[in-house]
Symmetry: C2
């Protein structure tokens, strides 16, 4: 059994390590258009969105705290694996392998019981098999969609992303929330009408 | 009764507005020392710390989700009121008034029931009267202390902050967690020994 002191030491080491998520940049742009978003602030945004939007979850039996925990943890692997742009199929090829190795290293900084807990949260998020993880994944897609729309499609334009790609990625929102997918698919249609997303 | 559509519209408006917390800069520096931290990523960091460190809460009856919710919401008022440096007594004089006005404006973007919920979370955090809010406040102090220590006291040096000021601010950690205060007060002592915090 680890002494309390050794346990706390490992927990602090993990808390220090995850500070690096603030350096991982995403393609999404923040709403004042001044810069790209990082994965730490993105994680905050989607965690708080969960509390505001949980009423739209496909199934009312959703465990809101479980969704929040998943979203606080879901991008930590990017500290080693980097943020993989969702429309970059080349980078996506070995994404899972890179992220598995990252999870192993980073979560195992923690005491074993907590390493297991965080690994389980991350795996649940990735597998998209539970009600909770489907809603978490829906919000993880909705947030960049909203930011892209309200920054005149800056990230879409930069990477030449087209409507069918945005639909293909975001239609998964429906698995977690048909109502939020209705909202999202209207946003995509409006983006095309406004000329900020090519058909 | 608001139509569902009008309700969702207000919720999205709030979600867009809080994106601006990513532009509010704090005095704390991130661990690679490249730049100051913003309040959105700070909020993510302390929310996740809650999950890792809840075992050290003074009272085991703590509601971990309530603490996480408080910490996700606690800095939103800074979008209007700015981040007030905790060692700047001049700015602190009218801080509460500025933050009250900010809370009124920003939370009221939401439907009434949710505006009330978030206002209550923020007031609970600020009042430091409940077990949950005392633990939330402890983590809100501990995170910048850790970051300051591991960035060689960069923010302390910049503002000429001394040991007695850091102790006076952080001894409140004890109200939420005697064990984390033991850890924190050792960190402060080490910072003095290492010459990164003047006595």
């Amino acid at each position: 059994m680890m002494s309390d002191n050794a346990r706390l030491k490992r927990q602090i080491e993990f808390i220090l390590e995850i500070d690096r998520l603030k350096q991982v940049m995403r393609q999404t742009v923040i709403t004042d258009k001044s810069r790209q978003e990082n994965s730490a602030e993105h994680s905050w945004h989607v965690a708080l969105m969960t509390i505001i939007l949980s009423e739209y979850a496909k199934n009312p039996q959703i465990d809101v705290f479980q969704v929040v925990k998943m979203l606080l943890v879901h991008d930590i692997v990017e500290i080693d694996a980097g943020d993989t742009f969702c429309y970059d199929n080349h980078a996506r090829a070995d994404q899972h392998e890179r992220e598995l190795m990252a999870a192993k290293r980073i979560f195992n900084l923690l005491p074993k019981d907590q390493a297991r807990q965080l690994q389980a949260l991350w795996e649940e998020f990735e597998a998209r098999q539970t009600l909770n993880s489907r809603f978490a994944n829906a919000l993880d897609r909705l947030q960049p969609l909203i930011n892209n729309y309200y920054t005149d499609g800056k990230a879409w334009k930069k990477h030449g992303v087209k409507q069918h790609q945005v639909v293909a990625r975001n239609c998964r929102i429906e698995e977690g929330s048909p109502e939020l997918w209705r909202y999202a698919s209207n946003l995509i249609k409006n983006a095309v009408v406004q000329g900020i997303l090519p058909e």
